[in-house]
């Protein structure tokens, strides 16, 4: 390993560390999971401890797409478009069992897991997931970001 690759490696680590603590989320909130998302964001659980306290309501300013709640087939093209508008590097969190698999909505209206439409980095199951699970998922995402696991 040369001196150059040593510095590039250290730079990647520094970038990963910086990105991990400056998560700007885009909350794509469509259903009841939004309540649990809000509980996680508020002072009792305080998602700001993880540097993820400021949601951005424009996909162009966001790093992480939080898909919170059931996605219907009518909504699927909108979700895809929001994902496409985000700048890279970007990550996606599937929040709640409906976004993970469709949940119990195995019917004509509901997308059976958002990973059929867009790539997903972290799945947080639960109906809805407790804030502790959300924070656990967020920390797993941070590990992934710090390790430089990102899709270009």
């Amino acid at each position: 390993m040369g001196v150059g690759s040593f510095f590039v490696g250290k730079l990647d680590e520094a970038l990963g560390w910086a990105r991990k603590y400056s998560i700007f989320q885009y909350p794509f909130v469509t259903a009841c999971c939004g309540m649990e998302y809000m509980a996680t964001a508020c002072s009792h659980y305080d998602v700001d401890r993880f540097g993820a306290g400021l949601p951005r309501f424009s996909p162009r300013q966001a790093d992480v797409l939080f898909v919170v709640g059931t996605i219907s087939h009518k909504m699927a093209p909108v979700l895809k478009r929001v994902y496409d508008q985000m700048c890279e590097p970007k990550w996606v969190v599937a929040f709640g069992v409906c976004t993970c698999t469709g949940g119990f909505y195995d019917n004509y209206a509901t997308v059976q897991g958002i990973d059929t439409i867009i790539p997903v980095d972290v799945y947080i199951p639960g109906c809805p997931p407790r804030p502790e699970s959300v924070i656990d998922g967020l920390m797993k995402l941070q590990d992934k970001i710090a390790a430089g696991a990102q899709r270009y």
Binding site: K74, Q112, T116
Partner: protein, 165 residues
């Protein structure tokens, strides 16, 4: 007025267009012939003793293969009415045949019937004659068929994007 008196008034005014009246645990229902629907709705809305000023819901029931109704009209269109003046309620049911499933619109009486009838069209494929804008309310234009009909295949999926499973 109590439910029985409302049903009696309706039967007296409309005669044979009221096919049947039912009462179950305080809920009163009139089964109407198709041609009696609009006169009944107008009477219920405008009569000062009845004054059903709120159309709560329009929905439908698909009786395909329902025990005892295999040969009868396939659909029932159901109207729920409420009077904010007198605090009483009534349900109307109108049997509709499968071929040319069509009911006169109630948009001229209650503007909210616009969206309620669009939902019934969307889910059951029952058309409302005279409706100003009869297109799907909940599903997308590309969707084929009407998902709450009993003969809609339970596992048929019609995604706009993504795999068709």
């Amino acid at each position: 007025m109590d439910g029985q008196a409302i049903l009696a008034r309706l039967a007296a005014q409309l005669g044979p267009a009221v096919r049947e009246t039912l009462a179950y645990r305080g809920d009163h229902t009139a089964v109407l012939a198709l041609e009696g629907l609009l006169p009944a709705l107008r009477l219920l809305r405008d009569d000062p003793d009845l004054r059903f000023d709120l159309l709560v819901d329009i929905t439908a029931v698909d009786y395909l293969k329902y025990p005892g109704r295999e040969d009868g009209p396939r659909f029932d269109v159901v109207y729920h009415l409420y009077s904010t003046t007198h605090n009483h309620r009534l349900r109307l049911r109108v049997p509709v045949e499968e071929d040319d499933a069509q009911v006169p619109t109630a948009t001229g009486l209650w503007p909210i019937a616009d969206w309620l009838e669009r939902e019934v069209w969307d889910m059951f494929g029952i058309r409302f004659e005279g409706h100003p804008n009869l297109k799907r309310l909940l599903l997308y234009e590309e969707f084929e068929g009407h998902p709450l009909r009993k003969d809609y295949p339970i596992n048929r999926r019609q995604p706009l994007i993504g795999p068709r499973v």
